[in-house]
Amino acid sequence: MGLKTAALKKSIWVFHVACSPCNNCDIEILDLLTPRFDIERFGIVLVGSPRHADALLITGVANRHVTPRLIETYRATSKPCVCFLFGACASGGTFFKGGYNVPKPVDEIILEEDPNAIIVYIPGCPPKPEAMIAGVVKALSVL
């Protein structure tokens, strides 16, 4: 483990990228901030700019309109960064796979941009907040 990865693992700051989601995963992510789950006790904070972020929380399938913006956002994030793909849509495409406005799965888009990207899948429709926390913790423990 390099120094950068070791530093990454402490108190990750996250930026939320909503690429054509159905809003459900997004609401559950915000739920994590509110009193019942309160992920700030783990030092996880939502930030307003990808330049401040250690991790990107990506939800939804990326449609043609949003794909270039997703790539731009990934480029703007300081490396190394972790990409958490929340929900079944971001992880696998589900219904929308093969639609006329959905060219590629999200993970392929990111891997094309950066073959060494760290991608974590948290499937579920939507994943329960407990599952989201468990996924993030599990991912950080194997990094």
Binding site: R69, G99, Y100, K104
Partner: protein, 163 residues
């Protein structure tokens, strides 16, 4: 509202639309389907909106053999009846007068129908793309029957980003 009162609404619609009405049908008490010619369409929509107090819920376009069928769903809230105003817009011109020109509520939905079906709404105040990405190739209308689910030959992922 009883069912008899609802059935009497179609008489009201018939009277208001007068000579431009081609056909009217009320299969269920709370649903009216009225058909007019495409040339009279904006006028008919204006009558339903202004005289009958209809609220434009939405409008649907769908492709039939040699035309695109437009259905404007007007909700007559006081009468508890949904009045569907239909017309056939003939191919290949696909031109019809715009309802969005006098009813701001029809603005966005006509933009959507224009890009999805290729219908030209004459006199529309703001004929731009609404939902499809910038640089979407001309002549591609995704909701038409012959359009594939996943079209080939798109390279727009590599184009420069213009927000």
């Amino acid at each position: 509202m009883t069912d008899e009162e609802k059935y009497s609404v179609s008489e009201k619609v018939k009277k208001a639309l007068g000579g431009i009405l081609q056909n009217i049908d009320q299969p269920r008490p709370n649903r009216i389907y009225a058909v007019v010619h495409q040339d009279d369409f904006p006028q008919a929509a204006k009558i339903v909106y202004e005289k009958l107090g209809g609220r434009l819920a939405t409008s649907t376009a769908l492709e039939v053999r040699d035309a695109v069928e437009l259905i404007y769903h007007f909700m007559l809230d006081a009468e508890q009846v949904l009045c569907n105003l239909k017309t056939l817009v003939a191919k290949p011109e696909l031109k019809v007068g715009s309802v969005g020109a006098f009813l701001p509520g029809a603005d966005w939905i006509e933009r959507e129908m224009a890009e999805m079906f290729g219908v030209t709404f004459e006199g529309h105040p703001d004929p731009r793309h609404l939902l499809l990405p910038d640089g979407w190739p001309e002549g591609n209308y995704p909701y038409r029957c012959d359009y594939p689910q996943n079209p080939e030959g798109f390279t727009d992922e590599k184009r420069p980003v213009v927000y």
